[in-house]
């Protein structure tokens, strides 16, 4: 009882800050094991596809493998070669990891817990999607600086290639989601989820009105082309196969991380997996209804603690499905050539995304 009084005595702002800190710590604490186990799933799945066994020695079914990997990354020699540019060499892995974590802020990963004030989103910004793209565009720095800092030919080529690839697909990505926001009428990501659950604001009063909803009100069914462009652009943004040109082993050894060792090397990989996970989360939010499910009243915000936890579970489940897709594709498709990659981004996707915007505009006009 004492503790609750202490909590109630705080000002609303202090309570808000306190809850934010708790949410952030929990969100990061959940994200980290997901990153670690994504690596294990990747290795096991790859082994399965290639008819091998994969890591199965550490713990039952190899379940403790991520711990072993982490310990190994920490205990290996942390070597800084003589020829590198020291400051940037140290800065680059951190700059890869930080934007990946920051994207977490605007993603609604659940409805609420306990009471309706505890929204399960770290910062419910009105310009949510702009925040996401702004932060994503910062990810280029880590890679370009890694390439520059290493002062080695493979790293340099990998870094430049990667950054050119990322900025090319950022355009396609940014354009592909415009039709989504034309339908929703807000840049807030919670509003996108409300729209997909049938809660559409009334034009006059701005109050949310419940319309009938179902699986078909998910935006993936209303904007399939937008989703397709976003999906492919997400693969390119995260440097995953079939677009892993920056680290194409046969040409560039390891790309921008060639000269790195121990934890610095691991940070690049954690950054990559964090990006994969968070772009999965973005796709779930933008196109697959976020934490909602159109059955058993699960499209409504939670009114009990259990339902709130269930919403978070639904979100994580959908996200895991995308994660598996990312991994599966990696071991199924061959790598693109660099000219094919640029061709796809600039000459196919940009006109396609523009056409999608114009067609959506015309359709909305006809319907109005």
């Amino acid at each position: 009882m004492n503790r609750m009084e202490w909590l109630a005595n705080l000002t609303p702002t202090q309570q808000f800050v306190l809850f934010s800190v708790v949410k952030i710590i929990f969100a990061v604490a959940i994200l980290m094991p997901i990153i670690a186990y994504a690596v294990l799933v990747e290795r096991r799945l790859c082994a399965f596809i290639q008819d091998r066994v994969g890591p199965n020695r550490v713990g039952p079914f190899g379940l403790l493998q991520p711990l072993a990997d982490g310990a190994k990354a920490i205990l290996k020699e942390d070597f800084t070669p003589e020829h590198v540019r020291k400051v940037y060499y140290w800065l680059a892995p951190a700059l890869c990891m930080i934007p990946a974590l920051l994207t977490l802020a605007v993603i609604p990963f659940g409805s609420n817990l306990g009471n309706s004030n505890n929204r399960m989103v770290i910062a419910d910004l009105n310009v949510g999607i702009l925040y996401t793209f702004g932060i994503v565009s910062l990810g280029v720095y880590g890679i370009v600086l890694a390439g520059y800092a290493a002062n080695s030919k493979y790293s340099f080529l990998g870094g430049i290639r990667s950054s050119a690839q990322m900025i090319s697909y950022e355009i396609a990505m940014g354009m592909s989601v415009i039709p989504v926001f034309m339908l929703v009428g807000s840049l807030n990501l919670s509003a996108v989820i409300d729209y997909q659950a049938g809660r559409i604001p009334d034009p006059e009063t701005g109050r949310l009105i419940q319309h009938s909803s179902g699986l078909l009100s998910w935006l993936v069914f209303k904007q399939p082309l937008a989703f397709l462009i976003f999906l492919v652009a997400a693969f390119a943004e995260t440097n995953r196969l079939p677009f892993d040109l920056p680290e194409s082993e046969q040409e560039l050894v390891g790309g921008y991380n060639t000269e790195y060792s121990s934890m610095k090397f691991a940070l690049f990989f954690m950054g990559e997996y964090a990006n994969v996970i968070l772009s999965s989360a973005m796709m779930v939010t933008l196109f697959f209804g976020g934490w909602t499910l159109p059955v058993f009243g699960l499209e409504q915000p939670a009114d009990s603690l259990g339902k709130g936890l269930l919403h978070i579970g639904i979100f994580l489940g959908k996200m895991a499905a995308f994660l598996i897709l990312f991994i599966w594709v990696r071991w199924m498709l061959p790598r693109f050539r660099y000219d094919q990659l640029m061709d796809l981004g600039w000459r196919r996707f940009i006109p396609l995304a523009l056409a999608n915007i114009v067609v959506t505009a015309i359709l909305l006009w006809v319907r109005a």
Binding site: Y88, L125, N126, V127, L130, Y131, F133, G134, I135, S137, L138, V140, Y141, V144, Y148, F156, I160, S163, I167, E170, G185, S186, L187
Partner: protein
């Protein structure tokens, strides 16, 4: 003065000063990024969320990247031997002081000073969009023309070598 504003202003100014005074061009570019990011934070502090993130998206995420690319492309990142100050820095300083003085006098004698300060608006993206589509349609189209001109210019400059014999 608001401590948040003071900190951001100091950060932005320091970034800008470092960007023009450092020797290594890559350091300069990254200091410019700090200055851009500081500006974006200042916009956010003024409750201009859209402009703040547009600043990050366009300046930090695109313009500064172009500058970094240009530096890496030309291999000009190693420090040169010229002194930081040009030989005519006294004249430059004089002109700068004169301009600052003229601006100061103009501001001080302006009638705008006697207007009451209007409360800061809290613009939403929605209001911005409405304004952009009604009162500011013409500027928008002019921006479109400007961007197209820039695009054509960039292509002409960069693709120039392709036309000549190799």
């Amino acid at each position: 003065m608001d401590p948040v504003f003071a900190f951001l202003a100091l950060l932005t100014t320091a970034g800008a000063v470092a960007a023009v005074s450092l020797r290594n061009l890559v350091h300069c570019a990254l200091c410019l990024v700090v200055a851009f990011a500081g500006l974006a934070a200042l916009y956010l502090q003024l409750n201009a969320q859209f402009i703040g993130f547009a600043q990050i998206l366009v300046y930090v995420g695109a313009v500064a990247i172009l500058i970094v690319f240009a530096i890496l492309l030309t291999r000009g990142s190693e420090p040169g031997n010229q002194p930081i100050l040009s030989s005519s820095w006294q004249a430059g300083l004089g002109v700068a002081v004169l301009v600052l003085g003229a601006l100061g006098v103009a501001v001080a004698s302006s009638f705008v000073r006697y207007y009451p300060v209007s409360p800061a608006p809290q613009p939403t993206v929605r209001e911005l969009g409405e304004q952009l589509m009604t009162n500011y349609v013409l500027p928008l189209e002019v921006i479109g023309l400007l961007l197209t001109a820039a695009m054509i210019g960039a292509v002409i400059i960069a693709m120039h070598e392709k036309q000549g014999p190799r």
